[in-house]
Point group: C2
Chain length 349, copies 2
């Protein structure tokens, strides 16, 4: 029996190798019809010309906890650039130790998503950035307080003037969001999969290539496609078979909250899968910690397909090839407060 | 009247200039008897040889929120290197939105303090680092959980092996603390005052020099001396005149909690004053936001001296010359979690 198993395994491995080697060019061509490699330069964004001054200002704002009412949370608290651009929590903890409603998505490569948030309710990152700053369970601040805070620090005023040189009153809530978007546009993480798409066969292992082939053949790539392997298009979670309420809580109806259309019940944006291996836990509910389990759930829920262990393993290996290299980030030194800086307010509103 | 005032001011300014120019060498010599400039190399620490590997590991640990039970707080949360090495809060907010009992001191140059914490209850930074990780109102974790967390990530294990190459079982709570201490030893911030002590007359303005002279003449330097302009020696807060309970809360008896000696009631370590201008609010209670007000309170409480506005202004100017340059810090990329990494626990114990 053991011997038989061994032969079977060897044959399977040989078969896989033969397949992946024989179809090396085909596989890449097929992949290039579905995916795109990351750009080699900072992506341009709509209505927001990206300059060095804007990026540097945005970086300071991204790391500044004084954008929150309590002075405790910065953008980086939940979108931590040290841990894959998210916080590794089921759902984030915010103002007053309140829980956010959904798992914090990674900020890495988010500039390339077609819309932001799990329900796509923000068109782009400059619209997104204004949300958490004001959300009562996150940073719990107000635009007026944020502007008062920023205007109280002469160094911030000078940085806004440099970033928005043509404006009479550059320290605004909108410009805060634009600067943060400019910084976030630099958070592009080229991965082995990009090297593969760009022509380097050795960038993926045979197992990763088999996972890529499965990812396309099984239908995962129907929703998780494009430059971010997801991040555009909305789909019902449980297209074929609804997962249990432990994974798909009944009280969060997804895009329905945005469109108020019954058809959009439990519809969510297809998650972008870059860096997915380092951004557990998974799904909008953050209820699944194991990537293999998440892949298997997607198989049954979205494709009506029971993936076997070997298929799951290969797909997980492919997803690992989407883990990219972080850009170098010099931790900023922020402007010091002054006598007129509003004081932190930790109380619940 | 206006004219008279003008003449008086001009005369005062001329007098000040004359004094500071005439006694330039005397002032520096007097200062060098009381203060020392920062060292030009990373200070050696007791029982902890500092290596590049240890510093890099310590930096990762310092920024890692997974050292806390909730996964929300890192060392950097309360000792934020972007904002003077503290959190700019009256007292820190920790696990479960609980308030810490005392204002978080800056971690900058803390390696040069003779003891750590406001009551000096930790001998050095490797002893200090273990406190907040376990404090129920701060990171609320346990040594066992921390070690389990670190051991669950192969990259951390490799980093500990590199940092502690002679040890069989290098991933320990003690070694975590040693690595953090090694990183913190690099957080040295040379300031204009150091350049002045090192012989550069132009490094301080005349007002700052007048403030320095006053700081020594009035007696401030009796407690705030040495390389960190404080940070060693214990003194009763309210030596001459006890401040009100708004500034000196009655239920916090300071070093008494450590020594249980009545003489140590309301005794605190003399605060190190490097970077004091960027680390409001002030005192162990964090109740005073304005540095000038803090200086005036010190005058009456510790020296029995009503400092006038001009004296306060000069001393505040001198204290500003203690604001140093931060070392460049590349924001770390932390090891990704694995299936065996303990999950975040946000509940109150």
């Amino acid at each position: 029996m053991k011997r038989l198993l061994h032969i079977a395994t060897t044959t399977a491995v040989a078969l896989v190798c033969a397949v992946s080697l024989a179809t090396a060019e085909d596989l890449r061509e097929q992949a290039l019809e579905v995916f795109r490699p990351l750009p080699s330069t900072i992506p341009a964004v709509k209505d927001n010309r990206i300059t060095t001054e804007k990026i540097e200002l945005g970086k300071a704002l991204f790391f500044d906890p004084r954008l929150s009412a309590s002075g405790v949370f910065s953008c980086n608290s939940c979108h931590n650039l040290a841990t894959g651009g998210d916080d590794n929590l089921e759902t984030s903890i915010g103002h007053g130790w309140q829980r956010g409603p959904r798992n914090a998505p990674t900020v890495l490569n988010a500039v390339l998503n077609e819309a932001q948030f799990w329900d796509g309710r923000a068109e782009d990152l400059k619209a997104q950035a204004k949300g958490p700053v004001q959300a009562s369970v996150e940073m719990a601040n107000t635009p007026d307080q944020v502007v008062a805070t920023l205007k109280s620090m002469p160094l911030y005023v000078a940085w806004f003037e440099a970033a928005f040189p043509d404006e009479d009153d550059p320290v605004t809530f909108d410009n805060m969001a634009k600067a943060i978007e400019a910084f976030e546009a630099t958070l592009i993480t080229p991965a082995p999969f990009d090297a593969y798409l760009n022509g380097d066969d050795a960038a993926l292992t045979d197992l990763e290539k088999r996972g890529l082939a499965l990812f396309m053949d099984k239908g995962c790539a129907a929703c998780h496609s494009g430059v971010n392997v997801g991040g555009h298009g909305y789909y019902p979670f449980g297209l074929i078979e609804k997962p249990g309420a432990d994974i798909l809580p009944e009280n969060d109806r997804g895009r329905f909250e945005v469109t108020k259309t019954v058809d959009d019940s439990y519809v969510f944006r297809a998650s972008p899968l870059r860096n997915i291996a380092v951004t557990a836990p998974y799904f909008h509910s953050g209820r699944v910690w194991d990537l293999g389990v998440a892949v298997a759930i997607m198989g049954t829920a979205q494709l009506g397909e029971e993936l076997d262990d070997e298929e799951v393993e290969a797909i997980v290996a492919f997803l690992g090839s989407l883990t990219g290299t972080m850009p170098a980030i010099a931790y900023p030194v922020l402007p010091p407060e002054t006598a007129t800086t509003p004081r932190p307010r930790a109380e619940l509103q």
